[in-house]
Protein backbone atom coordinates (compact mmCIF):
# COMPACT_ATOMS: atom_id res chain seq x y z
CA UNK A 1 0.00 0.00 0.00
CA UNK A 2 1.16 3.52 -0.67
CA UNK A 3 2.39 5.60 2.28
CA UNK A 4 1.35 9.23 2.62
CA UNK A 5 3.62 11.45 4.72
CA UNK A 6 2.53 14.72 6.32
CA UNK A 7 5.66 16.63 7.30
CA UNK A 8 6.26 20.03 8.85
CA UNK A 9 8.52 21.97 11.17
CA UNK A 10 5.39 22.74 13.22
CA UNK A 11 2.39 20.63 14.29
CA UNK A 12 1.84 19.33 10.72
CA UNK A 13 -1.88 20.03 11.18
CA UNK A 14 -1.91 22.19 8.06
CA UNK A 15 -0.06 19.56 6.01
CA UNK A 16 -2.62 16.99 7.22
CA UNK A 17 -5.58 19.21 6.38
CA UNK A 18 -4.18 19.86 2.91
CA UNK A 19 -3.23 16.25 2.19
CA UNK A 20 -6.40 14.70 3.55
CA UNK A 21 -8.57 17.10 1.58
CA UNK A 22 -6.62 16.20 -1.58
CA UNK A 23 -6.83 12.46 -0.94
CA UNK A 24 -10.56 12.71 -0.25
CA UNK A 25 -10.93 13.29 -3.99
CA UNK A 26 -9.58 9.82 -4.78
CA UNK A 27 -11.01 6.41 -3.89
CA UNK A 28 -7.72 5.00 -2.62
CA UNK A 29 -6.48 3.05 0.40
CA UNK A 30 -3.26 4.40 1.88
CA UNK A 31 -1.14 4.35 5.04
CA UNK A 32 -0.83 7.73 6.80
CA UNK A 33 2.31 8.88 8.64
CA UNK A 34 2.78 12.27 10.24
CA UNK A 35 6.22 13.64 11.05
CA UNK A 36 5.80 16.82 13.10
CA UNK A 37 8.38 19.27 14.44
CA UNK A 38 11.00 18.32 11.84
CA UNK A 39 13.02 21.41 12.63
CA UNK A 40 16.67 20.40 12.32
CA UNK A 41 18.67 19.04 9.36
CA UNK A 42 19.26 15.83 11.37
CA UNK A 43 15.55 15.21 11.86
CA UNK A 44 14.96 16.00 8.18
CA UNK A 45 17.54 13.44 7.12
CA UNK A 46 15.88 10.85 9.35
CA UNK A 47 12.55 11.72 7.69
CA UNK A 48 14.14 11.24 4.25
CA UNK A 49 15.30 7.78 5.34
CA UNK A 50 11.79 6.89 6.44
CA UNK A 51 10.36 8.04 3.11
CA UNK A 52 12.90 6.08 1.09
CA UNK A 53 12.42 2.98 3.25
CA UNK A 54 8.64 3.15 2.74
CA UNK A 55 9.30 3.29 -1.01
CA UNK A 56 11.63 0.29 -0.93
CA UNK A 57 9.29 -1.72 1.31
CA UNK A 58 6.12 -1.22 -0.77
CA UNK A 59 7.49 -0.54 -4.24
CA UNK A 60 5.08 2.40 -4.43
CA UNK A 61 6.37 5.95 -4.39
CA UNK A 62 5.31 7.72 -1.17
CA UNK A 63 3.40 10.97 -1.45
CA UNK A 64 4.63 13.82 0.74
CA UNK A 65 2.46 16.75 1.78
CA UNK A 66 4.67 19.27 3.50
CA UNK A 67 4.68 22.79 4.89
CA UNK A 68 8.02 24.25 5.97
CA UNK A 69 9.16 27.68 6.93
CA UNK A 70 12.86 26.83 6.67
CA UNK A 71 13.89 26.49 3.03
CA UNK A 72 17.01 24.52 3.96
CA UNK A 73 15.01 21.85 5.74
CA UNK A 74 12.44 21.75 2.97
CA UNK A 75 15.23 21.10 0.46
CA UNK A 76 16.39 18.08 2.45
CA UNK A 77 12.87 16.61 2.41
CA UNK A 78 12.58 17.29 -1.32
CA UNK A 79 15.77 15.31 -1.89
CA UNK A 80 13.86 12.15 -0.89
CA UNK A 81 12.46 9.84 -3.52
CA UNK A 82 8.85 10.69 -2.62
CA UNK A 83 6.47 12.81 -4.69
CA UNK A 84 6.42 16.13 -2.82
CA UNK A 85 3.51 18.61 -2.79
CA UNK A 86 3.74 22.04 -1.18
CA UNK A 87 0.59 24.10 -1.51
CA UNK A 88 1.89 27.12 0.37
CA UNK A 89 4.68 27.56 -2.12
CA UNK A 90 2.41 27.63 -5.14
CA UNK A 91 -0.05 30.22 -3.81
CA UNK A 92 2.38 32.55 -2.08
CA UNK A 93 3.20 34.65 -5.14
CA UNK A 94 -0.36 35.38 -6.30
CA UNK A 95 -1.60 36.11 -2.76
CA UNK A 96 1.40 38.32 -2.05
CA UNK A 97 0.59 40.27 -5.18
CA UNK A 98 -3.09 40.55 -4.24
CA UNK A 99 -2.25 41.76 -0.72
CA UNK A 100 0.50 44.03 -2.01
CA UNK A 101 2.96 42.87 0.66
CA UNK A 102 5.77 40.31 0.67
CA UNK A 103 5.43 37.07 2.62
CA UNK A 104 7.16 36.85 6.00
CA UNK A 105 7.14 33.18 6.86
CA UNK A 106 7.43 32.47 10.59
CA UNK A 107 7.19 29.08 12.25
CA UNK A 108 4.11 28.14 14.23
CA UNK A 109 1.98 31.07 13.15
CA UNK A 110 -0.96 28.87 12.17
CA UNK A 111 -1.49 26.69 15.22
CA UNK A 112 0.71 28.41 17.78
CA UNK A 113 0.08 30.98 20.45
CA UNK A 114 1.53 34.22 19.17
CA UNK A 115 3.74 36.31 21.37
CA UNK A 116 1.44 39.32 21.50
CA UNK A 117 -0.97 39.90 24.38
CA UNK A 118 -3.92 39.94 21.98
CA UNK A 119 -3.19 36.42 20.82
CA UNK A 120 -2.65 35.16 24.34
CA UNK A 121 -6.02 36.62 25.34
CA UNK A 122 -7.73 35.03 22.36
CA UNK A 123 -6.23 31.70 23.31
CA UNK A 124 -7.24 31.99 26.97
CA UNK A 125 -10.75 32.69 25.73
CA UNK A 126 -10.90 29.23 24.20
CA UNK A 127 -9.61 27.52 27.33
CA UNK A 128 -12.18 29.45 29.36
CA UNK A 129 -14.90 28.19 27.04
CA UNK A 130 -13.72 24.60 27.61
CA UNK A 131 -13.87 25.12 31.37
CA UNK A 132 -17.33 26.66 31.08
CA UNK A 133 -18.55 23.79 28.95
CA UNK A 134 -17.24 21.16 31.36
CA UNK A 135 -18.81 22.97 34.31
CA UNK A 136 -22.11 23.09 32.42
CA UNK A 137 -22.17 19.58 31.03
CA UNK A 138 -25.28 17.49 31.41
CA UNK A 139 -27.52 20.06 33.05
CA UNK A 140 -25.26 21.01 35.94
CA UNK A 141 -24.93 24.64 37.07
CA UNK A 142 -28.09 26.06 35.56
CA UNK A 143 -27.34 29.35 37.31
CA UNK A 144 -24.57 29.99 34.76
CA UNK A 145 -26.85 29.92 31.70
CA UNK A 146 -26.79 33.71 31.40
CA UNK A 147 -23.21 33.32 30.30
CA UNK A 148 -23.87 30.57 27.72
CA UNK A 149 -23.50 31.32 24.02
CA UNK A 150 -25.62 28.28 23.23
CA UNK A 151 -27.45 25.56 25.17
CA UNK A 152 -27.72 22.17 23.48
CA UNK A 153 -30.82 20.22 24.39
CA UNK A 154 -31.75 16.60 23.75
CA UNK A 155 -32.60 13.20 25.22
CA UNK A 156 -29.83 10.96 26.51
CA UNK A 157 -27.09 9.94 24.01
CA UNK A 158 -27.83 12.31 21.15
CA UNK A 159 -24.31 13.79 20.99
CA UNK A 160 -24.74 16.85 23.20
CA UNK A 161 -21.49 16.50 25.15
CA UNK A 162 -19.02 15.89 22.29
CA UNK A 163 -20.67 18.67 20.29
CA UNK A 164 -20.45 21.13 23.20
CA UNK A 165 -16.80 20.30 23.77
CA UNK A 166 -15.97 20.65 20.10
CA UNK A 167 -17.68 24.06 19.93
CA UNK A 168 -15.67 25.19 22.96
CA UNK A 169 -12.28 23.80 21.95
CA UNK A 170 -12.47 24.71 18.28
CA UNK A 171 -14.37 27.97 18.37
CA UNK A 172 -14.21 29.31 21.94
CA UNK A 173 -18.00 29.05 22.23
CA UNK A 174 -19.47 28.63 25.71
CA UNK A 175 -21.75 25.68 25.04
CA UNK A 176 -23.85 24.36 27.92
CA UNK A 177 -25.92 21.23 27.47
CA UNK A 178 -29.07 20.00 29.14
CA UNK A 179 -30.43 16.45 29.01
CA UNK A 180 -34.16 15.68 28.87
CA UNK A 181 -34.80 12.69 31.14
CA UNK A 182 -37.62 10.65 32.57
CA UNK A 183 -37.90 13.32 35.27
CA UNK A 184 -38.99 15.75 32.61
CA UNK A 185 -42.09 13.59 32.03
CA UNK A 186 -41.44 12.64 28.44
CA UNK A 187 -45.07 11.62 27.97
CA UNK A 188 -46.21 15.23 28.34
CA UNK A 189 -42.98 16.85 27.35
CA UNK A 190 -42.68 20.55 28.02
CA UNK A 191 -39.66 22.79 27.84
CA UNK A 192 -38.16 22.56 31.35
CA UNK A 193 -39.00 25.72 33.30
CA UNK A 194 -35.34 26.51 34.09
CA UNK A 195 -34.69 26.78 30.37
CA UNK A 196 -37.59 29.11 29.57
CA UNK A 197 -35.65 32.37 30.13
CA UNK A 198 -32.92 31.11 27.77
CA UNK A 199 -35.14 29.70 25.04
CA UNK A 200 -33.53 31.79 22.31
CA UNK A 201 -30.13 30.26 23.01
CA UNK A 202 -31.40 26.68 22.82
CA UNK A 203 -30.52 24.36 19.97
CA UNK A 204 -31.97 20.84 19.85
CA UNK A 205 -30.23 17.64 18.89
CA UNK A 206 -32.05 14.51 17.85
CA UNK A 207 -31.17 11.14 16.33
CA UNK A 208 -32.92 8.43 14.31
CA UNK A 209 -34.58 6.03 16.81
CA UNK A 210 -32.76 3.00 15.35
CA UNK A 211 -29.35 4.63 15.85
CA UNK A 212 -30.26 5.85 19.35
CA UNK A 213 -31.34 2.31 20.20
CA UNK A 214 -27.93 0.97 19.05
CA UNK A 215 -25.97 3.53 21.04
CA UNK A 216 -28.01 3.07 24.21
CA UNK A 217 -27.81 -0.72 23.89
CA UNK A 218 -24.03 -0.49 24.20
CA UNK A 219 -24.54 1.19 27.58
CA UNK A 220 -27.51 -0.76 28.93
CA UNK A 221 -28.29 -3.77 26.76
CA UNK A 222 -31.88 -5.00 27.00
CA UNK A 223 -33.10 -2.15 29.21
CA UNK A 224 -36.33 -0.26 28.65
CA UNK A 225 -34.16 2.85 28.26
CA UNK A 226 -32.41 1.25 25.27
CA UNK A 227 -35.47 -0.36 23.67
CA UNK A 228 -36.39 0.72 20.15
CA UNK A 229 -39.94 1.52 21.29
CA UNK A 230 -38.69 3.87 24.01
CA UNK A 231 -36.18 5.53 21.65
CA UNK A 232 -38.93 6.06 19.06
CA UNK A 233 -41.23 7.54 21.65
CA UNK A 234 -38.64 9.91 23.11
CA UNK A 235 -37.48 11.14 19.70
CA UNK A 236 -41.04 11.80 18.60
CA UNK A 237 -41.95 13.65 21.79
CA UNK A 238 -38.83 15.77 21.78
CA UNK A 239 -39.15 16.70 18.10
CA UNK A 240 -42.77 17.69 18.68
CA UNK A 241 -41.67 19.88 21.56
CA UNK A 242 -38.93 21.54 19.47
CA UNK A 243 -41.46 22.35 16.77
CA UNK A 244 -44.04 23.64 19.24
CA UNK A 245 -41.46 25.91 20.90
CA UNK A 246 -39.83 27.06 17.66
CA UNK A 247 -36.47 25.61 18.76
CA UNK A 248 -34.14 24.92 15.82
CA UNK A 249 -32.90 21.34 15.79
CA UNK A 250 -30.75 18.90 13.89
CA UNK A 251 -30.92 15.14 13.35
CA UNK A 252 -27.27 14.25 13.94
CA UNK A 253 -27.47 10.61 12.78
CA UNK A 254 -25.43 11.00 9.61
CA UNK A 255 -23.08 13.75 10.73
CA UNK A 256 -19.70 13.90 12.44
CA UNK A 257 -19.14 16.25 15.36
CA UNK A 258 -17.34 18.65 12.97
CA UNK A 259 -20.38 18.74 10.70
CA UNK A 260 -22.87 19.11 13.54
CA UNK A 261 -20.87 22.03 14.94
CA UNK A 262 -20.53 23.67 11.51
CA UNK A 263 -24.26 23.29 10.85
CA UNK A 264 -25.18 24.78 14.21
CA UNK A 265 -22.88 27.74 13.58
CA UNK A 266 -24.24 28.27 10.07
CA UNK A 267 -27.81 28.25 11.37
CA UNK A 268 -27.42 30.33 14.51
CA UNK A 269 -24.94 32.91 13.21
CA UNK A 270 -22.64 32.33 16.17
CA UNK A 271 -19.24 33.75 15.29
CA UNK A 272 -16.65 31.21 14.10
CA UNK A 273 -13.65 33.50 14.13
CA UNK A 274 -13.30 34.67 17.68
CA UNK A 275 -9.66 33.78 17.87
Amino acid sequence: MRTIFYISDGTALTAEAFGKAMLSMFPVQVVHKTLAFIDTPEKAKEAVNKINQAYDASGERPIIFHTFVSIDIKRIIMSSRGACYDFLDYFIAPISQELGIPAQPKTHRTHGIQESMVDREKYDFRIEAVNYTLDNDDGSNISDYDEADIILLGVSRTGKTPTSLYLALQYGIKAANYPLTEDDDIEHLQLPKVLRPHVRKIYGLTLEPQRLHEIRSKRREGSRYASLAQCRFEVQQVENMYRREGIPFLDSTHFSVEEIAAKILAETNLERHRF
Copy 2:
Protein backbone atom coordinates in the same frame (compact mmCIF):
# COMPACT_ATOMS: atom_id res chain seq x y z
CA MET B 1 -10.07 46.20 6.31
CA ARG B 2 -9.96 43.38 3.82
CA THR B 3 -12.50 40.57 4.22
CA ILE B 4 -11.43 36.97 3.78
CA PHE B 5 -14.16 34.47 2.87
CA TYR B 6 -13.93 30.72 3.43
CA ILE B 7 -16.62 29.06 1.34
CA SER B 8 -17.60 25.44 0.73
CA ASP B 9 -20.52 23.14 0.08
CA GLY B 10 -19.40 21.24 3.20
CA THR B 11 -18.19 22.36 6.63
CA ALA B 12 -15.63 24.77 5.10
CA LEU B 13 -13.05 23.44 7.57
CA THR B 14 -10.69 22.59 4.72
CA ALA B 15 -11.11 26.02 3.13
CA GLU B 16 -10.37 27.58 6.54
CA ALA B 17 -7.28 25.40 7.09
CA PHE B 18 -5.99 26.30 3.63
CA GLY B 19 -6.75 30.01 3.88
CA LYS B 20 -5.49 30.48 7.41
CA ALA B 21 -2.23 28.68 6.63
CA MET B 22 -1.76 30.96 3.59
CA LEU B 23 -2.56 34.11 5.53
CA SER B 24 -0.19 33.10 8.34
CA MET B 25 2.61 33.89 5.88
CA PHE B 26 1.61 37.54 5.77
CA PRO B 27 1.62 40.15 8.53
CA VAL B 28 -1.86 41.46 7.75
CA GLN B 29 -5.04 42.31 9.69
CA VAL B 30 -8.21 41.00 8.07
CA VAL B 31 -11.86 40.18 8.79
CA HIS B 32 -12.75 36.48 8.52
CA LYS B 33 -16.12 35.19 7.26
CA THR B 34 -17.02 31.57 6.78
CA LEU B 35 -19.92 30.51 4.56
CA ALA B 36 -20.47 26.77 5.04
CA PHE B 37 -22.94 24.41 3.33
CA ILE B 38 -23.32 26.61 0.24
CA ASP B 39 -24.89 23.76 -1.68
CA THR B 40 -27.55 25.33 -3.89
CA PRO B 41 -27.31 27.97 -6.66
CA GLU B 42 -29.52 30.25 -4.52
CA LYS B 43 -27.16 30.12 -1.56
CA ALA B 44 -24.22 30.64 -3.90
CA LYS B 45 -25.83 33.77 -5.35
CA GLU B 46 -26.40 35.09 -1.83
CA ALA B 47 -22.72 34.43 -1.09
CA VAL B 48 -21.73 36.37 -4.21
CA ASN B 49 -23.81 39.30 -2.98
CA LYS B 50 -22.03 39.20 0.37
CA ILE B 51 -18.63 39.16 -1.33
CA ASN B 52 -19.49 42.07 -3.60
CA GLN B 53 -20.98 44.05 -0.71
CA ALA B 54 -17.82 43.54 1.34
CA TYR B 55 -15.85 44.90 -1.63
CA ASP B 56 -18.06 47.95 -1.97
CA ALA B 57 -18.07 48.64 1.76
CA SER B 58 -14.29 48.48 2.28
CA GLY B 59 -12.94 49.35 -1.16
CA GLU B 60 -10.60 46.36 -0.80
CA ARG B 61 -11.08 43.28 -2.92
CA PRO B 62 -12.13 40.31 -0.76
CA ILE B 63 -10.05 37.16 -0.91
CA ILE B 64 -11.98 33.91 -1.31
CA PHE B 65 -10.62 30.51 -0.28
CA HIS B 66 -13.04 27.89 -1.51
CA THR B 67 -13.44 24.14 -1.89
CA PHE B 68 -16.40 22.88 -3.88
CA VAL B 69 -17.42 19.52 -5.24
CA SER B 70 -20.12 20.95 -7.52
CA ILE B 71 -18.56 22.74 -10.47
CA ASP B 72 -21.77 24.67 -11.17
CA ILE B 73 -21.83 26.17 -7.70
CA LYS B 74 -18.11 26.92 -7.83
CA ARG B 75 -18.66 28.84 -11.08
CA ILE B 76 -21.24 31.06 -9.40
CA ILE B 77 -18.81 31.91 -6.58
CA MET B 78 -16.07 32.62 -9.12
CA SER B 79 -18.36 35.11 -10.86
CA SER B 80 -18.05 37.37 -7.79
CA ARG B 81 -15.62 40.27 -7.76
CA GLY B 82 -13.40 38.63 -5.12
CA ALA B 83 -9.96 37.09 -5.73
CA CYS B 84 -10.68 33.34 -5.68
CA TYR B 85 -8.17 30.65 -4.69
CA ASP B 86 -8.90 26.95 -5.04
CA PHE B 87 -6.04 24.72 -3.96
CA LEU B 88 -7.79 21.43 -4.68
CA ASP B 89 -8.17 22.36 -8.30
CA TYR B 90 -4.51 23.06 -8.86
CA PHE B 91 -3.18 19.86 -7.33
CA ILE B 92 -5.77 17.42 -8.62
CA ALA B 93 -4.09 16.74 -11.97
CA PRO B 94 -0.57 15.98 -10.68
CA ILE B 95 -1.84 13.84 -7.80
CA SER B 96 -4.23 11.98 -10.09
CA GLN B 97 -1.30 11.22 -12.35
CA GLU B 98 0.87 10.08 -9.44
CA LEU B 99 -1.88 7.79 -8.11
CA GLY B 100 -2.77 6.57 -11.58
CA ILE B 101 -6.51 7.02 -10.99
CA PRO B 102 -8.98 9.75 -11.87
CA ALA B 103 -10.46 11.97 -9.15
CA GLN B 104 -13.97 11.17 -7.94
CA PRO B 105 -15.07 14.22 -6.02
CA LYS B 106 -17.80 13.54 -3.46
CA THR B 107 -19.19 16.01 -0.95
CA HIS B 108 -18.33 15.70 2.72
CA ARG B 109 -15.62 13.10 2.30
CA THR B 110 -13.11 15.07 4.37
CA HIS B 111 -15.03 15.87 7.53
CA GLY B 112 -18.09 13.66 7.18
CA ILE B 113 -19.00 10.23 8.42
CA GLN B 114 -18.75 7.95 5.44
CA GLU B 115 -21.51 5.51 4.69
CA SER B 116 -19.49 2.34 5.19
CA MET B 117 -19.52 0.41 8.46
CA VAL B 118 -15.74 0.83 8.79
CA ASP B 119 -16.02 4.61 8.82
CA ARG B 120 -18.88 4.56 11.27
CA GLU B 121 -16.84 2.38 13.60
CA LYS B 122 -13.86 4.69 13.30
CA TYR B 123 -16.07 7.62 14.17
CA ASP B 124 -17.65 5.88 17.14
CA PHE B 125 -14.14 5.17 18.35
CA ARG B 126 -13.52 8.91 18.71
CA ILE B 127 -16.75 9.52 20.58
CA GLU B 128 -15.89 6.63 22.90
CA ALA B 129 -12.52 8.25 23.58
CA VAL B 130 -14.29 11.50 24.51
CA ASN B 131 -16.55 9.63 26.92
CA TYR B 132 -13.57 7.81 28.40
CA THR B 133 -11.68 11.08 28.84
CA LEU B 134 -14.61 12.78 30.56
CA ASP B 135 -15.08 9.82 32.88
CA ASN B 136 -11.39 9.93 33.71
CA ASP B 137 -10.94 13.65 34.11
CA ASP B 138 -9.16 15.00 37.16
CA GLY B 139 -8.21 11.71 38.78
CA SER B 140 -11.65 10.12 38.88
CA ASN B 141 -12.09 6.40 38.08
CA ILE B 142 -8.54 5.20 38.61
CA SER B 143 -9.76 1.64 38.08
CA ASP B 144 -10.07 2.39 34.35
CA TYR B 145 -6.41 3.25 33.84
CA ASP B 146 -5.70 -0.12 32.22
CA GLU B 147 -7.71 1.16 29.29
CA ALA B 148 -5.94 4.52 29.01
CA ASP B 149 -3.70 5.26 26.02
CA ILE B 150 -2.04 8.04 28.00
CA ILE B 151 -2.32 9.56 31.47
CA LEU B 152 -1.51 13.26 31.77
CA LEU B 153 -0.07 14.28 35.12
CA GLY B 154 0.50 17.71 36.61
CA VAL B 155 -0.31 20.18 39.38
CA SER B 156 -3.55 22.15 39.24
CA ARG B 157 -4.09 24.41 36.16
CA THR B 158 -1.35 23.19 33.88
CA GLY B 159 -3.66 22.37 30.96
CA LYS B 160 -4.33 18.68 31.59
CA THR B 161 -8.06 18.75 30.89
CA PRO B 162 -8.13 20.72 27.60
CA THR B 163 -5.21 18.66 26.32
CA SER B 164 -6.92 15.36 27.23
CA LEU B 165 -10.12 16.43 25.52
CA TYR B 166 -8.31 17.57 22.41
CA LEU B 167 -6.42 14.26 22.17
CA ALA B 168 -9.73 12.38 22.47
CA LEU B 169 -11.80 14.52 20.09
CA GLN B 170 -9.15 15.00 17.45
CA TYR B 171 -7.30 11.69 17.54
CA GLY B 172 -9.54 9.18 19.33
CA ILE B 173 -6.95 8.78 22.09
CA LYS B 174 -8.19 7.69 25.51
CA ALA B 175 -6.48 10.31 27.63
CA ALA B 176 -6.97 10.18 31.39
CA ASN B 177 -5.60 12.93 33.58
CA TYR B 178 -4.50 12.98 37.20
CA PRO B 179 -3.91 16.10 39.30
CA LEU B 180 -1.17 16.35 41.91
CA THR B 181 -2.59 18.17 44.93
CA GLU B 182 -1.73 19.10 48.51
CA ASP B 183 -2.91 15.60 49.48
CA ASP B 184 0.02 14.21 47.53
CA ASP B 185 2.36 15.96 49.96
CA ILE B 186 4.09 18.25 47.49
CA GLU B 187 6.94 18.85 49.91
CA HIS B 188 8.09 15.24 49.60
CA LEU B 189 6.56 14.57 46.23
CA GLN B 190 6.43 10.96 45.13
CA LEU B 191 4.63 9.41 42.21
CA PRO B 192 1.19 8.53 43.65
CA LYS B 193 1.00 4.78 44.35
CA VAL B 194 -2.11 4.28 42.20
CA LEU B 195 -0.14 5.50 39.18
CA ARG B 196 2.89 3.25 39.71
CA PRO B 197 1.54 0.31 37.61
CA HIS B 198 0.85 2.73 34.74
CA VAL B 199 4.07 4.72 34.88
CA ARG B 200 4.97 4.03 31.24
CA LYS B 201 1.75 5.66 30.07
CA ILE B 202 2.30 8.84 32.06
CA TYR B 203 3.17 12.15 30.45
CA GLY B 204 3.82 15.22 32.61
CA LEU B 205 2.68 18.77 32.00
CA THR B 206 4.25 21.76 33.64
CA LEU B 207 4.10 25.54 33.29
CA GLU B 208 6.31 28.53 34.07
CA PRO B 209 5.59 29.59 37.71
CA GLN B 210 4.73 33.16 36.66
CA ARG B 211 2.11 31.97 34.18
CA LEU B 212 0.69 29.42 36.64
CA HIS B 213 0.41 32.22 39.20
CA GLU B 214 -1.55 34.36 36.72
CA ILE B 215 -3.94 31.54 35.83
CA ARG B 216 -4.54 30.51 39.43
CA SER B 217 -5.04 34.13 40.47
CA LYS B 218 -8.03 34.34 38.13
CA ARG B 219 -9.61 31.50 40.09
CA ARG B 220 -8.54 32.38 43.65
CA GLU B 221 -6.99 35.84 43.80
CA GLY B 222 -4.64 36.36 46.74
CA SER B 223 -4.78 32.76 47.98
CA ARG B 224 -1.73 30.77 49.03
CA TYR B 225 -2.65 28.35 46.19
CA ALA B 226 -2.23 31.19 43.66
CA SER B 227 0.86 32.82 45.20
CA LEU B 228 3.98 32.97 43.05
CA ALA B 229 6.00 31.32 45.83
CA GLN B 230 3.64 28.34 45.97
CA CYS B 231 3.55 28.03 42.16
CA ARG B 232 7.35 28.11 42.03
CA PHE B 233 7.60 25.47 44.72
CA GLU B 234 5.06 23.13 43.11
CA VAL B 235 6.60 23.41 39.65
CA GLN B 236 10.07 22.71 41.01
CA GLN B 237 8.92 19.71 43.03
CA VAL B 238 6.92 18.20 40.21
CA GLU B 239 9.69 18.66 37.64
CA ASN B 240 12.15 17.01 40.01
CA MET B 241 9.78 14.11 40.42
CA TYR B 242 9.34 13.74 36.63
CA ARG B 243 13.10 13.62 36.19
CA ARG B 244 13.59 11.15 39.05
CA GLU B 245 10.92 8.85 37.64
CA GLY B 246 11.98 9.20 34.01
CA ILE B 247 8.57 10.61 33.07
CA PRO B 248 8.65 12.65 29.84
CA PHE B 249 7.22 16.12 30.34
CA LEU B 250 6.51 19.37 28.56
CA ASP B 251 6.43 23.00 29.70
CA SER B 252 3.21 24.11 28.04
CA THR B 253 3.58 27.86 28.72
CA HIS B 254 4.19 28.94 25.15
CA PHE B 255 2.10 26.35 23.33
CA SER B 256 -1.50 26.05 22.23
CA VAL B 257 -3.49 22.90 22.93
CA GLU B 258 -2.91 21.83 19.29
CA GLU B 259 0.84 22.15 19.74
CA ILE B 260 0.90 20.41 23.12
CA ALA B 261 -1.08 17.50 21.68
CA ALA B 262 1.13 17.29 18.58
CA LYS B 263 4.29 17.37 20.70
CA ILE B 264 3.00 14.62 22.99
CA LEU B 265 2.12 12.47 19.98
CA ALA B 266 5.49 13.09 18.36
CA GLU B 267 7.30 12.11 21.54
CA THR B 268 5.27 9.09 22.62
CA ASN B 269 4.65 7.55 19.19
CA LEU B 270 0.92 7.33 19.87
CA GLU B 271 -0.83 6.83 16.55
CA ARG B 272 -2.33 9.98 15.00
CA HIS B 273 -4.28 8.29 12.23
CA ARG B 274 -6.66 5.96 13.94
CA PHE B 275 -9.63 7.24 12.01
